[in-house]
Amino acid sequence: MKIAFDKIYDSYHQDLYRFIFYMVKNKEVTEDLLQEVYIKILKSYESFEGKSSQKTWLFSIARHTTIDYFRSQKRKRSHILNLFDWSEKGDYIPDENPLPEELVMKSERERQIYSFLDQCTVDQKSVLILRFIQSFSIKETAEILNFSESKVKTTQHRGLKKLRELLDHKEGGDLL
């Protein structure tokens, strides 16, 4: 197991960490989820059949694990509060976490886009993170998300449009 762990850690750890972090925006949760991802990977490492690349396999497990987390949070919120109308908000997960230290020194523009990512759907957010923060190609993103390449493009377009609307609204508001 150590050999498999070393191989995955050395090649993909920081990328997996970054992907999960930008999805959930909480370092503690990121560590918990990444631990879960490692356990799943190491348990099924022997049975990985290499039908996709190891990289896309690892990221698709990370994505499934993150979505499971969102679902559990959705349940938790609806159970505890019942105040949040998920049917209207869709998969929007509001960010209640403090800014990571890496972002504190960044400009307002970067902080805005970081915050607005949460108002995209989970699919849009996944595509935007993989494409522009992780620099994955359309093909790799499609494999990870199990989308067709055209669906990646459509989701990317919708995600960018959503961010543009939010930024336009914010900047318009600031001018008033």
């Binding site: 197991m1 762990f5 850690y9 750890h13 920081q14 960490y17 970054r18 972090f21 930008y22 990121t30 560590e31 918990d32 990444l34 879960e36 490692y38 356990i39 799943k40 348990k43 099924s44 049975s47 990985f48 059949e49 039908k51 396999w57 698709s60 497990i61 499934h64 694990t65 499971d68 987390y69 679902r71 559990s72 949070q73 349940r75 938790k76 609806s78 159970h79 998920w86 049917s87 869709g90 998969d91 990571p100 890496e102 972002l103 960044k106 970067e110 886009i113 970081y114 759907t121 935007l128 522009f132 923060i133 620099s135 199990n146 989308f147 067709s148 960018l160 543009r164 930024l167 336009d168």
Partner: protein, 395 residues
Amino acid sequence: MNPGDDKEIINRLKKLPKVVDQTDKEEWHSRISSKISEEKKPVTRRQTRVLISTIGFSLVAMILLLLLPSIINEVNPSQNQVKEDSNSAHHIKKVKMVDEPSTTNHFHSEEVSDENPITNPIPESKVMYNINNEQQIVYSAVSDDQLQYLIPFSFIVPNDESLSDYYSTIGSRINFSEDKLGAYMFDNVSFDINVDEKEVVMNLPESFTISDGSANATMFINILTEMFIPYDIEKIVFQSDKNQAIDLGAIGEITELPLIQELYAYKKYESPNEDKSYLIPIPQDRESTVDEALRNLKDNEEDFHVYATIPENVNFSIRDNHQQLIVELENNNSLANEEEFITMIEAILMTAKSYGYETVKFENTKIDQIGSYLLTEPIFVPDAVNPIEVIDPNA
């Protein structure tokens, strides 16, 4: 910002910091190793696994015959049965399972009990219709071995017997077998089902635990949803001797669980451990349309043993008429493989059901009948997927 100026936004995204994990590699290894070791320790509840169709086949068939002798012929009628559904505003004909040689997945009659199910040339159906008021369906599910997807299964029981009793003894009625599919979660758990109150009380033994991780908690919730949403149950109430609350890890401690219907597309799960496949529900976005869900049926997820149910080269367009979904096929000449065609029909039916449709009409199918389905008529969505054999625990 000018409309269409995506470059500016992309640049902002690219400038977001490369957040780096500062935790030491050895620390990670130590945490993960200890977690895996913990999980390998024996647990109090019985670790059981789901049934393989080929192993124990004769035992199961025999017990099923003892338990439900009259049901088999009704689930698998020997003649074409098309009857008018008088309740339908559109006077749609309800197509039942027809010409099934009693092999609706694991159901076997005396006539075929000596046949080897692997070599049986007649394709298996992966769905079930409850066509008799004297019987009811028990729904349950297990997880796949990677805790990614839920694998539902179902069986029929007489209507005059306690549903709660059946649900409380699923673990002993199914031949779960080690190392096949994921473990059954609810051994030694009893259920009191109150359909009128839309509530199920779940009595948990002291030893009941859910492993850490949001995947386990999510699977726990998904299985309960699969089990009880068909009865319009709205919430599960947890009870135990010492403490009413149940610790769902990432969800926290709860005493009640509201059940929420999700949207699904149905794909084929090919178990890596047995020569058998199941239709499984793949969750879809709440904002998704049935068209998007059906198009997703063309995608494989091979690393998770999940495969397309609509072949890549089969095109289709859809429209609807109230509760009827109309699927017009193109390029379906290639669907010579009867099993592939039936699986496609059933996956579309189940996906349509998830999106609220009651019937599906297939057009431009080239043939009038495939397996038990009369394609010239609208087909009712099934009542359940993956029917399996049951065992009489007292036998």
